[in-house]
């Protein structure tokens, strides 16, 4: 199979870090904070690499949009088995405004430029929880989408995608080229072994600017304020059921 797969990998604050809101309420503290690849993006890369190992696809291209540090995330993807990387250089105000709409425009442009048959993304990022990029990318390309995938079966020109939905599992068949977004149970991502980390150094990462792709990064959204969830108030203990009902009545709850 000569297909190319494009996988988006996002650099996010590491899942184990305790998030702190900036005092000026414009966002969260990112300086000096540990970042890593979005866990759902790891699952996406793992799926793509497995397809390549099964010889169902030819090449895995890892893409990340962001400042210079995004290259670290691409390196991790290369160490997991991606063939080459594309760093879309976005920094400063553009990076602050970078959201699913902008990223999906970039991915759509890259998909055309690199003649890609399949895009695999994480279902959402753990920082903004948007869950939009996959869907928007498919719409911009007018490609079918298989989102929340817990299993993907490659079949010549189409994919059988098992999706996790509220009611259970739904299996759909979509023609390629297509967009798939990875859910938690799709696979267990591999470690970057030390030999593969060393081999990854020889793999190429190209840098492009959004303007090279003809993409307009302007955003319709403005972040007004970012605040912590309100502190949990202390509870009150009561002795009897009668006390409980009285208190609930007095506070207007019942």
């Amino acid at each position: 199979m000569s297909a190319r797969v494009l996988v988006g990998v996002k650099r996010v604050i590491d899942y184990a870090v305790k998030i702190r809101v900036k005092p000026d309420k414009t966002g969260v503290v990112t300086d000096g904070v540990k970042h890593s690849m979005n866990p759902f993006c790891e699952i996406a890369i793992e799926e793509a690499v497995r397809l390549k190992e099964k010889k169902l696809i030819k090449e895995v291209i890892a893409v990340s949009c962001g400042p210079q540090q995004s290259q670290e995330t691409i390196r991790t993807a290369l160490a997991m088995g991606a063939d080459r990387g594309i760093h879309v250089d976005v920094s400063g105000k553009d990076y602050e405004n970078l959201g699913p709409l902008q990223v999906s425009k970039i991915l759509a442009a890259l998909a055309k430029k690199e003649d890609v048959r399949l895009i695999i993304l994480g279902k959402q990022a753990i920082d903004d929880d948007c869950n939009q990029t996959g869907q928007m990318t498919a719409a911009l390309l007018d490609w079918p989408q298989g989102t929340f995938a817990s299993q993907v079966d490659f079949q010549e020109d189409s994919l059988k995608v098992e999706r996790e939905i509220d009611g259970g599992l739904e299996t759909i068949k979509i023609k390629m080229p297509a967009v798939v977004t990875a859910d938690l149970r799709l696979n267990e991502p591999r470690y970057a072994t030390l030999p593969n980390i060393m081999k990854a150094k020889k793999k190429k990462i190209d840098t492009v600017k959004p303007s090279d792709l003809g993409v307009d990064l302007s955003s319709q959204l403005e972040v007004l304020s970012v605040e912590e969830p309100s502190q949990r108030q202390a509870g009150v203990k009561v002795e009897t059921v009668e006390d409980l009902i009285k208190k609930l009545r007095d506070s207007g709850r019942i």
Binding site: R75, Y191, T193, L194, K201
Partner: protein, 385 residues
């Protein structure tokens, strides 16, 4: 200097850290209780490329420097020093072959380590001679194209699991012969007739590490397995330490860091006299001193590792790192138990294991006292012409 890690070093460290936190830590208490050799963990470490990092590339290894090895070692030790010692003992056993082996020896004995998850061991200590290496009695007598080995070794890490040993034996029977001529280093396949590993010893800590006595009875070793030549053994055996002491110091630092993290987390949760432990100055001072020691131990091993990677003789720094890290690991582990109070003494909490595991760092790879002899010698040599 080496304070800023390269991208590759950060990636190596992250892989080691992930493995230690997600796979070693949950399994460590079980292996500590049973004393079982942690085969699945060692196999995983091997698969991830975390073992045998010093093996040269022409033997299928990564050929990493000592600094990189130390970064990995610290992360693994954070998880469990028992597991990490089993892995580190491979490096110690291999080091004589790496620094003194000829091409054939390296291909044969280092090559196989990259093909399967095998263990090896460094066989020098005896029941009657530990620090006084020149006092070992195991003898090797030349007979035609072979040497016949007879003797007793003790406290050999990986003794029961090893595929081959580096062994130091006395080839010159003359008791007046100087140390730098009387001993020879050999590579011995563990399945050679006459090699008899003893029972697994039950130790205070690092209990899953396999430590045994080994008896050598008329063991025949081909002369091809001599490292460098007859009489060169002492230098080979000792030369390994400049490269293996920094990683041992890194292991002690990993244990100390774990003790500090556990104590700090506890001190931020446990309340007493109306506030968390950490907000009592007596406790915060304990934590501050623990932090000082951990940071300094790390800097010490990094310096020692960097010096040898740059091609310089690092004996002074290696001994300082090993001595300091071994001492502070014990202090910090004990302090961690103190911060936990009664809970710290109990086996349901993680810190008592750290105290038991820490002690050996003042004993193996050159005791705390031997390190001081070396440091004094190196230090004084700078002042005399």
């Amino acid at each position: 200097r080496a304070w800023k890690l390269s991208e590759q070093q950060k990636e190596f460290r992250d892989t080691a850290r992930k493995f230690a936190r997600e796979e070693i830590i949950p399994a460590a208490p079980h292996y500590d209780k049973t004393g079982e050799f942690p085969v699945p963990l060692i196999k995983r470490a091997w698969e991830l490329g975390l073992m045998n990092s010093h093996i040269p590339e022409h033997c299928g290894g990564l050929g990493l420097g000592i600094f990189d090895a130390c970064l990995i070692t610290e992360e693994l030790a954070y998880g469990c020093t028992g597991v990490q010692t089993a892995i580190e003992a491979n490096s110690l056993g291999q080091m004589p072959v790496i620094i003194a082996g000829n091409n054939d020896q390296q291909k044969k004995y280092l090559g196989r380590m990259s093909e399967e998850p095998l263990m090896c061991a460094y066989c020098v200590t005896e029941p009657g001679a530990g620090s006084d290496v020149a006092g070992i009695k195991t003898r090797a007598e030349k007979k035609g194209n072979e040497y016949i080995i007879n003797g007793q070794k003790m406290w050999i890490t990986n003794g029961g699991a090893a595929n081959w040993y580096f062994l130091l034996a006395r080839t010159d029977p003359d008791p007046k012969a100087p140390a730098n001529k009387a001993f020879t280093g050999f590579i011995i396949d563990a399945d050679t007739p006459g090699v008899q590993p003893g029972r697994k010893e039950i130790n205070m800590g690092q209990r899953c590490s396999d430590t045994r006595g080994i008896t050598f009875e008329d063991v025949r070793v081909p002369k091809e397995n001599v490292l460098i030549g007859e009489g060169a053994g002492f230098k080979v055996a000792m030369g390994a330490f400049d490269k293996t002491r920094p990683p041992v110091a890194a292991g002690a630092t990993g244990l100390a860091q774990r003790a500090l993290d556990e104590a700090t987390k506890y001190a931020l949760e446990r309340k007493t006299f109306g506030k968390v432990l950490a907000h009592h100055q007596a406790v915060s001072f304990i934590l501050a001193e623990m932090a000082m020691k951990v940071e300094l131990a790390r800097m010490a091993y990094q310096r020692a590792a960097w010096e040898v990677d740059e091609g310089r003789r690092n004996t002074y720094f290696a001994s300082i790192a090993k001595a300091f890290a071994g001492d502070i690991a014990n202090q910090v582990a004990s302090d961690a138990v103190q911060v936990f109070g009664g809970n710290g003494f109990n086996s349901e909490y993680p810190v008592e294991k750290l105290m038991r595991d820490a002690k050996i760092y003042q004993i193996y790879e050159g005791t705390a006292q031997i390190q001081r002899i070396i440091i004094a010698r190196e230090h004084l040599a700078k002042y005399t012409v």
